[in-house]
């Protein structure tokens, strides 16, 4: 049974109506999926061309677990996240389903989607220097997030704001509250971003390359913070990154994307311990190791990332894959070949004759 079918089965058991909510986490049985993405497709049209950014993406995220979505630039990982938030430009067409609790996120008009942003799902963006309004004090930006979904007295909101800053371990929160973004360091700004994201108690937190703009030490600090918060608040976290090391260190599950498709999925140890998809293996291989002797040529994946305006027939990785054959002209489906470990490939590593058909 492939992932799509499993998900659809589970989905049809639930109520199909999206019920608008105003905030707070509903009671979800731990272990049950809090976010269910099903056949998500995003295309951009303009100038007579269609770009297939995301094709048939499906996954599930359990409460309290961290999913890392990794891939190159252009793999569609950021686009899929923004689709969940409804933050894509008007030229985007989104279809499929993404459900948090009883709320369907796809296809909602902006008015309805607004109620869910921050309460169901929240996002932390990549570059905190640019993601915070330089002309507004930190405090004001946090209060805005706090009061976006709840009527609150200003003083109350200020207290809640400072509380949030404390939660993200920002030193001297009362002072920082009245400062401007440029007065803070990168790491501190990212903490503020996280505080903003948490303001309305989201069930799912998406970190879109949240640490890519930070130096390595700060990166580690922020990641630790995120995981700590996750444990305390019981959120589900989606980590979007191009950094495999990050995924390996901090995620419970990993989803590898290529050319808008999910190509491998599974619990972290299972996936990295037993890599199947040639692309994933190539990704792992291209990470420079300390143990590599000096002056060794860095292994790179030959070829170019695919042009999403003109995707080739069949497996998108085919032009660059060392194990490609005629068979690869048929697009492989993401299938659970081993319990918990899904991949979409005719010639995975490990199996000499390919996976189950």
């Amino acid at each position: 049974m492939n992932l799509n079918q499993t998900v659809n089965q589970a989905g049809s058991d639930r109520a199909t109506e999206a019920v608008p909510r105003t905030g707070g986490a509903t009671s979800v049985v731990p272990g049950e999926a809090v976010l269910t993405v099903s056949d998500l497709r995003v295309t951009f049209t303009g100038g007579g061309r269609t770009v297939h950014a995301v094709t048939g993406l499906s996954y599930q995220l359990q409460k309290g677990r961290t999913l890392a979505i990794i891939g190159e630039s252009g793999s569609g990982k950021s686009v899929s996240a923004r689709a969940l938030m409804g933050l894509l430009p008007p030229s985007a067409q989104v279809s499929g389903s993404a459900r948090i609790g009883d709320d369907e996120l796809i296809g909602l008009p902006d008015r309805e989607m607004r109620k869910l942003r921050g309460t169901d799902v929240a996002m932390v963006f990549q570059d905190p220097a640019r993601s915070l309004n330089p002309t507004m004090k930190i405090g004001l930006q946090i209060i805005e997030a706090v009061r976006a979904h709840q009527k609150m007295e200003r003083q109350q909101a200020v207290e809640r704001g400072i509380e949030l800053l404390r939660l993200v371990r920002l030193p001297a929160p009362e002072r920082r509250f009245h400062e401007y973004p440029h007065q803070l360091s990168g790491g501190m700004r990212q903490r503020v971003m996280i505080a903003i994201a948490l303001a309305a108690d989201p069930q799912v937190l998406i970190a879109d390359e949240a640490t890519s703009a930070l130096d390595v030490t700060t990166q580690a600090q922020i990641m630790e913070l995120l995981l700590d918060l996750q444990e305390r608040l019981g959120m589900a976290v989606v980590l979007i990154s191009h950094d495999i090391g990050l995924a390996a260190s901090y995620a419970d599950d990993v989803l590898v994307m290529y050319a808008g498709r999910a190509v491998e999925f599974g619990p972290t140890e299972m996936l990295f311990g037993n890599v199947q998809m040639p692309y994933t293996q190539a990704l792992l291989g291209s990470v420079p190791q300390l143990t590599t002797p000096p002056h060794t040529l860095l292994p790179v994946i030959p070829g170019q990332p695919p042009d999403l305006r003109a995707l080739p027939q069949g497996c998108p990785f085919r032009p660059r894959c060392a194990s490609a054959t005629e068979q690869c002209a048929n697009t492989p489906e993401l299938t659970e070949h081993q319990p918990g470990h899904w991949w979409a490939c005719w010639h995975p590593i490990g199996d000499s004759d390919g996976g189950t058909k």
């Binding site: 100038g47 770009v51 950014a53 950021s78 430009p89 030229s91 890519s212 999403l308 305006r309």
Partner: protein, 294 residues
């Protein structure tokens, strides 16, 4: 930065021009430039060529007997003015005068001001500071006031108008050229050229000019509109092109004197001004966005 926001990437991708486009699409793309360019061409042709081709009476030396003829009179499609001069003819010859002034001033500004500004930006140091201070003073001076004073001092004539307006145009071009050159200086290829021993003049011509040129040219097109309007103002006040020689500005003035009787006469030179300035503005702006997006 490694990972760019993919949605923004795609936005850029999808707004790129398609590789295979229909001929219609190609024309549509050229329209914002072709239309205003065409309008400018029509105006220029009308003012400079039409009087040679068509039997248009002279703009001056009219007869009191034939004065104040209405629109649609035989021989005088737009009627005649107070002094018996054919309005259409004055419109065309007036356009000629205004355009000549505008072109002259802008060319002076472009070459003198542009060179000055580029040199200033390139050489920096004391030369630059002195020029900058000078420009600051000139620009602080309200332009119209300065040109008024100069025009009054020199006496109204086409040549003096050009001179007076250059006072105004040269600092403006110098400023733009200087700013553009300063930005250019930051690019590595400039340092490379200097290190390889390129002489000052060569730098100016082969490296600086081609790079700041497009910017200056589109500024010049916008400047055409500005100068035409300012010359019109000067002529309106009697300090520009002296009567009886026509200029759109003094035509407007004359028409304003008889506004209660023949309000339509204000419309002709006003429309001419509007259309011409609009055409130059659009052309300048569209060219600028076309060139800067390269």
């Amino acid at each position: 930065m490694a990972a760019v926001d993919s949605a923004a990437e795609f936005e850029v991708l999808t707004t790129e021009a398609p590789a295979k486009s229909s001929r219609w699409a190609k024309w549509r793309r050229r329209l914002p430039i072709l239309l205003p360019a065409g309008a400018v061409a029509i105006v220029v042709l009308a003012c400079f060529v039409a009087p040679l081709v068509f039997p248009i009476p002279t703009p001056t030396g009219g007869d009191v007997l034939t004065s104040r003829l209405p629109v649609g009179s035989p021989d005088h499609p737009l009627g005649t003015d107070l002094n018996g001069n054919d309005i259409l003819s004055r419109l065309l010859y007036g356009g000629r005068a205004s355009l000549i002034v505008a072109v002259a001033v802008n060319l002076l500004g472009l070459f003198l001001g542009g060179t000055l500004g580029a040199l200033s930006g390139y050489l920096s140091g004391k030369f630059d500071t002195v020029i900058m201070r000078l420009l600051d003073v000139l620009i602080a001076f309200p332009a119209l006031v300065l040109t008024l004073a100069v025009a009054q001092a020199l006496g109204p004539s086409q040549r003096n108008t050009i001179l007076a307006l250059s006072f105004f145009a040269i600092p403006a071009f110098a400023r733009i050229a200087r700013a553009a050159t300063l930005r250019l200086n930051e690019l590595p290829f400039m340092a490379a050229a200097q290190l390889s021993g390129t002489s000052g003049w060569r730098m100016l011509f082969r490296h600086i000019a081609p790079n700041i040129g497009p910017q200056l040219l589109s500024f010049m097109l916008l400047g055409m509109g500005i100068i035409i309007v300012t010359e019109g103002a000067l002529s309106f006040l009697g300090l520009g092109i002296p009567r009886p020689a026509p200029s759109w500005g003094n035509m407007i003035f004359e028409a304003s004197q008889t506004m209660s009787a023949t309000p339509i006469q204000v419309v002709w030179p006003s429309m001419a001004l509007l259309v011409t300035v609009l055409a130059f503005n659009l052309l300048g702006e569209n060219l600028r966005s076309r060139w800067s997006s390269r």
